[in-house]
Amino acid sequence: MRYDVAVVGGGPGGLAAAIAARERDARVLVIERAEELGGILPQCIHTGFGVRVFGEDLTGPTYAQRYINRASELGVETLVDTMVLEVNPGHITATNRRDGVLEIKARAIVLAMGCRERPRGALGIPGTRPAGVYTAGTAQRLVNMEGYMPGERFVILGSGDIGMVMARRLTLEGAKVERVLEIQPFISGLRRNYVQCIQDFDIPLQLSHTVVDIRGDRRVEAVVAAEVTPDWQPIQGTEEVIPCDTLLLSVGLIPENELSRQAGVKLDEATGGPIVDERFQTSLPGIFAAGNVVHVYDSVDNVSRAGERAGEAAAEFALGKREEPDRRVDMQARENIRYVVPQVLDPESLRRGEQLLQMRVNRPVEKPVYLQVEANGEVIRRRRLRYVRPGEMVNFVLRERVYSQLRDVEEVWIHVEEANG
């Protein structure tokens, strides 16, 4: 099998990449491990998708279907229920029930494996190991796709978006959400989800709280919650036993990069995803990355947009239209910036048009701040923001006119400065 572009993963990032590549006349294959395309979207039956891309508020399945239809109209080929086993530049090995082991040649590859949820083990939560501890996404699949309730009385640890959406969904299904606990002193998901899923349903939420014990031998019988210090240490004497039968975890998403690692793509410790340039090419020429595999976005619309750019760039590479840059500038995350994507930028790209930087902060600042971009100790751009929150990605556009200032530098610093007054 030979293609110009092969896309690993048929979620929103992968589908957008495939469509963009096909629109540039590349021959495109999408490989998806699930039985249906759409990634996580088919189980996201709530609305909130598509406002930016389509100007409409859509459910996850509807949003996905628009991309699936478009891909199909354009003649994007797809393989579902197929797992990629290995990625190397120009070559993919995959397996499925029908074809056995598949060897696929592709001039360009787009990695679009998405992200996964942080499980219990990664948190080292003490206690027993009974049935009834799930990640919020697994519970979402059980409820929305399989039609089964994982429990009746829930405690949700973490205020990630899936956890908050599930708090509402479970309540609507007649279950009781006893508590949402967030270890940080602020909500980790979107404010919108907090208002619509937690506040509107009167679900008690406690900030600076975590689970310090899980009880129950066969099934969860209770969790013990406690308040924590700013460095997340439980405060003795604040423990509270909350009877429940299920603990859901919504404590962060991690880009899924097993295949990237195996392929030898360089990863960024801060994002957990590949180091990419402004066109989402990884450290390996011909291997691109799209969507949540690069860093965890706060909206599917943004995933699709990033996917488009990656797909476009992959098609250009495959069709011999891409010029490899001579120079790359390091985009460095400094004070209160957790990471910046892209991590490297070809300064010449600014002559073709403005470039989007996306970043997340480490800590919330609930008052005006300046986001500052510096090169060689000089501020080259500065933007005032009303606040910054870790749950909300910051977009920052570098305009064409900064080209002259970036042309000769090695690195650019990006940081948050608290504005006075």
Partner: protein, 491 residues
Amino acid sequence: MDYYDVIIIGAGVVGCLTARALSRYKLRVLLLEKASDVGTGATKANTGIVHAGYNPLPGTNKAKFNVRGNRMYPQLCAELNVPYERQGDYVVALSQEDMRTLEELQDRGRRNGVPGMEIVTGDEVRSAEPALTPQALGALWASTGGIVDPFLITIAAAENAVTNGVRLLLETEALGLIKEEGRIVGVRTNRGTFRCRWVVNCAGIHSDEVMAWAGLDGFAITPRKGEYYVFDKAKSAVKTILFPCPTPISKGIMVTTTTHGNTLIGPNAQNIENKGDRAVTSQGLAEVLEGARRLVPSLDERDVIAVFAGLRPSGSTGDFLIEVHQVGATACGRPGGFVNLAGIESPGLAAAPALAQWVVEALQEHGLEMEEKRDLNPIRPSPPRFNELSREEQAALIERDPRYGRIVCRCEMVTEGEIVRAIHSPVPAHTYDAIKRRTRCGTGRCQGAFDTPRVINILARELGISPLEVTKKGRGSELVLRETREGGDAL
């Protein structure tokens, strides 16, 4: 009423290997286990070390059976097709005092009959294990130390025993012994009574309670909790086995690799009251991490994928209690009685094959007729492991059975074919955890987040039950509790 020559109480590693050893002979053997799977007690929460045998004091049962058992492992694991690696182990000295301890251990090892020991320099260890602390001055190296998967050796032994005619009853809890005129003639369980000539006590943490039923007192088990961390395979820190110098009650918190390439650290040692308490504590975890970092300072909490705790059945004599109580002739006129394997804590895993062999010899000595089966099959075939096959082998396997082309667990690359095979194996996996132990499904870095809904559906389909009846580890641990208002939509 069923009648057996031997009933074994407890299907941990000792019980299962004993059942297998007895299955060579024309005997009616019944293996009773109260849990929904074999190997779920002390066997489950185990470091997986096949100790060389320099730790136990010379002359003890621990010393004798450890060294003997260790010698039996290569052949045993070859017959049972269980991963076993004898890569050697190190006891690391961090001080001059520790260096003297190494000499004591080496001397003890020699007296116990441990071959292949050597005291090496810190640099020599570091060249094999670069992550070892620069403070390590030297180490005792024992070439016969190794690792095995404690679940798989137990499951494989049980499967082979069942294949050779042993009857295994899961979810069957022994509740007492049946005595007639002072003789033990059977076992009472939650599923009825079973009569027999001999009872073998392999009840692990509960072995003192079974002894009390037999009228034997003066021996008590103290559950001693040990806690562990498992690290992501991609971040493995060591290739071999690193022990600190031992303390009087424990071999200390170690850093080892598993047969699957995960780094494992632990255990601490805490005597507890409740035999059901397998909860991990934050203090315990902190102790384990701190202890392990004394050997490998670079261990990073962020690479942890799971934590667990287990209970050691620690006997009041400090040694394995191994004895036969012959209680005259049974009703049918033949000798019978009670065999005790109690207090089998570390190095119990290493000793287990030798303990099983001892049971065979002891019963023979005490008048149990042992005639070898002609049709014995000592080989337990290895189930295919998709992830360990070459691309050609994978393709051939999928051609034979397309279910091997569907990956259910993405982290460990476990296929539907492997899961279905485990469900229908000689010791069938009927719970999520039983599948996990056999196939590694759900043991990777996502810890089952991806595969759980899929495994629920496969179990329901293969067992002909509703997803509502699928459990994590037996009744009471159901994974989903009811249908949603729109109703279930299982595959």
